[in-house]
């Protein structure tokens, strides 16, 4: 055992670069495997651990995007009358400051209805929760360091009835400290309006509301969504109805923040695709490296065979020799997994979704890692198996036969093809993220200010400001960065196949978009009869056709049905939605068209303007205007984007690593080919063929194979474009990543071929001919 270990260590010492490459490659691969598996496992849990329910469950969430609902709000419990729903309950998760044992403390509270635990079929062990009451989790008890807990609700003190184990400490993506019956909710959200429902009371104080439904086989998500939308549309205030209709999410399982989950799933799928692509490239390259090692070790293995080593003992020795490398892989995998995980956590979406629920499981970790190591060991032994089969002293003397040479070419071709695909997917996702982040930021520094008028009257704006004639100042009726909701219903006129759409509307001065330096897809002038749309809305309106065809077409907004607006321009998305990661469909109308502009009014400028000057220009005495500076908008956008860079960094790292793997893999692939053709090459040189012509000949052959692989790659990407766009919203047929992938691969092929063949000197010719490799 020790002899094999020390032999393995000596091999490591002799071939440090090669082993370091293998260790890092496998370490990264294992780390990626662990991350993808853990994210998948975390995402696949669709109900809490304490639930015994085997029913099909759906969560219905309504997003109010921070808007408050008046007493005329709508009833939201339509889900219980939907076809196919067998039971319905609702709950609210809210962070509240409560008095616990007389001390104020911030806790996460889940308000539940009486049938909540029944619907989820709580484990028999905890059946007492069905009877209702206030329950605390054991973590909260530990936190407060008390055996008994009294919660102050309104004017009364209520003792906690039961302490629940840690499994109750989380619900979907949120952590929970206390479970409180819904009837107590009015202590937190004051009842507004005589006829308001309980749901409206909830909606008055939280942006998200959740309904949980248990469904039978006849349930249809599309039909249910349509039914609920119709019910909402028929009641309540139009603005509330529009907002709710646009923000209904009906998702499988117990699920909070479905929008984030959707984005997270997209990122996970991209990561998984990258993982498989990375895996294929790694295995293909690793096989070349190990084949080269196997050829180099054939003499030693043959010797051991001649000395009487049975194959089984040789195999055991080979396995033992791998132990130092396996240990190194584990170390690298652990380090890189933690590194990748940390980068993912930097991404806002992971923080939001997994902040409390992502669990690092040693069991998953070790299972996946062991599987990766097993694959690695098996692959590393494959070429050795071939060598162990028979005597090998004569192997290589005659070189490879035609079939073997073809197989070598095929391996080279497939290696290039796989790398091109992997590199392109990785670069495409990186490029897309980069573009998104680039267009989200503004080109110049802009300072903003919010002006409010407490007396409720409209502003009297200077004409030159209103008409956008002052190049340094732009106005809008909404802040550039804020939480947004698609509040406006619109429909295209003419023979468009696209139906009604929802978007958020901003009224701006004609110079504002230019002032903040947005990127124009199609430049257009904003006036009373025109509208500018962003790319997110343009794509929705254009459907399958070119967004540029929208220019000149007309839109009708629900709030002004008799006044169609002509689409004059299209801009790339600006991160108006603030922390929301989805691209919000936006339309920009002219503020000139507003009869009166009421507060708040937003002023953006590329210069610092004093509050006094602003108020003076607005003809407002200081006591009638309040100015709140909004700071440097560009800086704020940069800060927002910082949180979105996890996937971008990872994809770029993977691209870089795929490239390095390709280069090293090709180097060894060529070395293997060279070893197998040593006699032919040596003879050609010995018989007077010039090195230059030999190199040119080989280079031409590799480039021909490379071209074949590139054409196949382009065809594959072209045929997969629709699939990738629909599945993960990833454009894999974008010119920049495609060209960059081909360029990198060709660069790698040329440099490795030249590097390997430049070693063919007179000294090596002799070695090639004597066969002493």
């Amino acid at each position: 055992m020790w002899d094999d270990l020390s032999f393995g260590w000596r091999c490591w010492q002799h071939q440090r670069v090669r082993w370091v490459f293998l260790v890092i490659a496998w370490g990264m691969f294992s780390a990626l495997a662990v991350i993808v598996t853990q994210l998948t496992v975390n995402l696949s849990a669709d109900r809490p651990d304490w639930s015994n329910s085997t029913d099909s469950l759906y969560t219905l969430s309504y997003g109010m995007q921070g808007l408050s609902v008046t007493s005329k709000g709508v009833d939201l419990d339509y889900a219980q009358t939907t076809s196919g729903v067998s039971s319905y309950t609702k709950y609210v998760i809210k962070r509240e400051t409560l008095k616990l044992n007389g001390k104020r403390k911030k806790v996460n509270v889940l308000f539940y209805e009486p049938n909540f635990f029944e619907l989820l079929d709580v484990n028999d062990k905890y059946a007492y929760v069905k009877e209702g009451g206030i329950f605390a989790t054991s973590a909260l008890m530990e936190n407060t360091a008390s055996k008994a807990l009294v919660v102050t609700l309104g004017n009364s003190d209520v003792p906690v009835q039961q302490v629940l184990p840690n499994t109750f400490g989380k619900f979907a993506s949120k952590s929970v400290d206390l479970y409180i019956p819904m009837v107590q909710f009015t202590n937190f959200a004051p009842f507004k309006g005589a006829n308001a429902t309980e749901t409206q009371a909830i909606m008055n104080s939280i942006p998200y509301y959740y309904g949980l439904i248990s469904v039978d086989d006849s349930f249809s998500v599309t039909a249910a969504t349509q039914y609920i939308q119709d019910q909402i549309a028929q009641s309540g205030e139009p603005i509330v109805s529009i907002n709710l209709e646009a923000n209904i999410q009906l998702v499988s399982g117990v699920e909070l923040l479905p929008q984030q989950r959707k984005e997270l799933l997209r990122q996970l799928i991209i990561l998984a695709i990258l993982f498989f692509a990375f895996g294929f490239v790694l295995i293909s390259n690793y096989f070349s490296v190990v084949s080269a090692i196997a050829i180099e070790r054939s003499q030693e293995l043959s010797l051991k065979y001649a000395l009487g080593a049975p194959n089984s003992k040789q195999l055991v020795s080979l396995l033992r020799e791998n132990i130092p490398m396996l240990l190194a892989v584990v170390t690298v995998a652990l380090a890189s997994a933690l590194f990748i995980q940390a980068q993912l956590y930097n991404s806002d979406i992971y923080n939001k979704y997994f902040g409390t629920t992502f669990e690092f499981s040693w069991l998953q970790w070790s299972a996946v890692l062991n599987l990766c190591l097993l694959v690695m060991v098996c692959i590393s032994l494959l070429p050795m198996f071939n060598l162990l089969r028979n005597s090998h002293f004569n192997r290589g003397k005659g070189g490879l036969n035609k079939m073997q040479r073809r197989l070598n070419d095929f391996q080279f071709l497939s290696q290039i093809l796989l790398t091109l695909c992997a590199l392109n997917i990785s670069l495409s996702s990186g490029y897309q993220e980069w573009q998104k982040q680039r267009t989200d930021s503004l080109d110049m520094s802009i300072v903003g200010a919010e002006i409010t008028r407490p007396d409720g009257k409209s502003f009297s704006l200077p004409t030159k400001w209103l008409l956008g004639q002052d190049k340094n100042i732009g106005l809008s009726n909404k802040a550039l960065i804020q939480s947004r909701a698609p509040l406006v219903k619109l429909r295209p006129l003419g023979d468009s196949h696209v139906g009604e759409q929802f978007a958020d509307k901003m009224s701006v001065t004609s110079n504002l978009l230019t002032l903040i330096g947005v990127n124009w897809e199609v430049f257009g002038r904003l006036d009373k009869g025109t509208v500018i749309v962003n790319m997110a809305l343009a794509k929705k309106l254009a459907g399958n056709s070119n967004v540029r065809d929208l220019i000149g077409s007309q839109l009708v907004l629900d709030d002004a049905p008799h006044k169609p607006l002509v689409i004059a321009g299209i801009i790339n998305n600006v991160a108006h939605a603030g922390v929301s990661l989805s691209d919000m469909p936006m339309l920009y109308t002219s503020i000139e068209d507003e009869k009166k502009v009421y507060s708040p009014l937003y002023i953006y400028s590329n210069q610092l303007i004093s509050s006094d000057k602003i108020l003076a220009s607005l003809d407002l005495p200081p006591e009638l205007g309040r100015i709140k500076p909004l700071g440097d908008i560009k800086q704020q956008l940069i800060e927002l984007n910082k949180n979105r860079r996890g996937l971008l960094f990872i994809t770029l790292q993977i691209s870089l690593f795929i490239f390095v793997m390709l280069t090293v893999g090709l180097l060894y692939q060529l070395k293997t080919m060279l070893l197998s053709q040593q006699r032919t090459l040596g003879l050609s040189l010995a018989m007077g063929q010039q090195r230059k012509s030999l190199i040119a000949e080989k280079l031409f052959k590799q480039l021909a194979l490379c071209s074949l692989a590139s054409i196949t790659f382009i065809v594959i990407m072209l045929s997969l474009t629709d699939y990738f766009t629909q599945a993960v919203n990833l454009d894999v047929y974008s010119t920049v990543p495609i060209c960059l992938s081909i360029f990198l691969v060709v660069l790698s092929v040329i440099s490795t071929t030249l590097l390997m063949l430049s070693k063919l000197t007179n000294t090596t010719i002799q070695r090639l001919l004597t066969g002493q490799v």
């Binding site: 002899d3 032999f7 010797l303 080593a309």
Partner: protein
């Protein structure tokens, strides 16, 4: 008459290529007695190395019978063949075939690792005994690349001897050595033969062949004794 150690009867070996079948060995009949010193000579491509590989159990015959120490080789499993190679045969190669990552001592210990009858505690003692026999006891902890060609070949001989094999199979043992080292290696092999080890040498070296008690000429796969 001495006991027959190697007996080949009607042994043939052919390779199939696209050009057709090539007979490398043609119905070879050969007996080698225990304790003999035999030189196998012939031109390149005559089949002598193939014959040596078959005798050394590194290759198998296409047809015919090969009996080693009274056992028909074709009836043995891979595992049994490994045991025979380990305990009955010692190999010496033209290019020494020492493992560069292992020290001299570890190189010599290598065959013992495949012999379960030898205790691990005895490895070093046995290896040092053989190393002393070839006169390199002071080089035990050196590595192959620190030795001259002659020294490397002597290490290879020491390695071949650790299992106390019935026969030594030498494939051009002096092929990579200068005349002085060749002479020393030849003397060593003849000395081992005198001690009772059967030695079969494939060589182009006429001087070496003449020193053997029997010369077998092979040409075009046929033996002319």
């Amino acid at each position: 008459m001495s006991e027959i150690l190697i007996s080949l009867s009607n042994l043939s070996k052919s390779f199939v290529s696209r050009a057709g079948s090539v007979d490398v060995l043609k119905e070879v009949d050969l007996d080698i007695a225990r304790g003999e010193c035999v030189a196998l000579v012939g031109q390149s491509g005559s089949g002598k190395s193939t014959l040596l590989s078959i005798i050394g159990l590194l290759d198998s015959a296409t047809s015919g019978t090969y009996t080693l120490c009274g056992s028909a080789v074709s009836a043995l499993s891979h595992y049994q063949l490994s045991i025979l190679r380990n305990r009955n045969i010692g190999w010496i190669f033209q290019n020494f075939n020492l493992v560069s990552e292992l020290s001299v001592l570890k190189n010599i210990e290598l065959p013992m690792r495949y012999n379960s009858d030898i205790k691990k505690a005895d490895y070093e003692t046995i290896a040092m005994k053989q190393l002393t026999l070839v006169g390199l006891q002071d080089k035990a902890h050196s590595y192959p690349d620190q030795l001259s060609g002659g020294q490397q070949q002597r290490v290879a001989i020491a390695r071949a001897l650790v299992g106390e094999p019935d026969m030594l199979l030498c494939d051009e043992p002096t092929g990579n050595l200068d005349s002085k080292n060749s002479e020393q290696i030849t003397d060593l092999l003849l000395e081992l033969n005198k001690r009772g080890t059967t030695v079969l040498i494939v060589t182009h070296d006429n001087e070496l062949a003449k020193k053997c008690e029997r010369i077998i000429q092979i040409s075009d796969g046929e033996i002319n004794q």
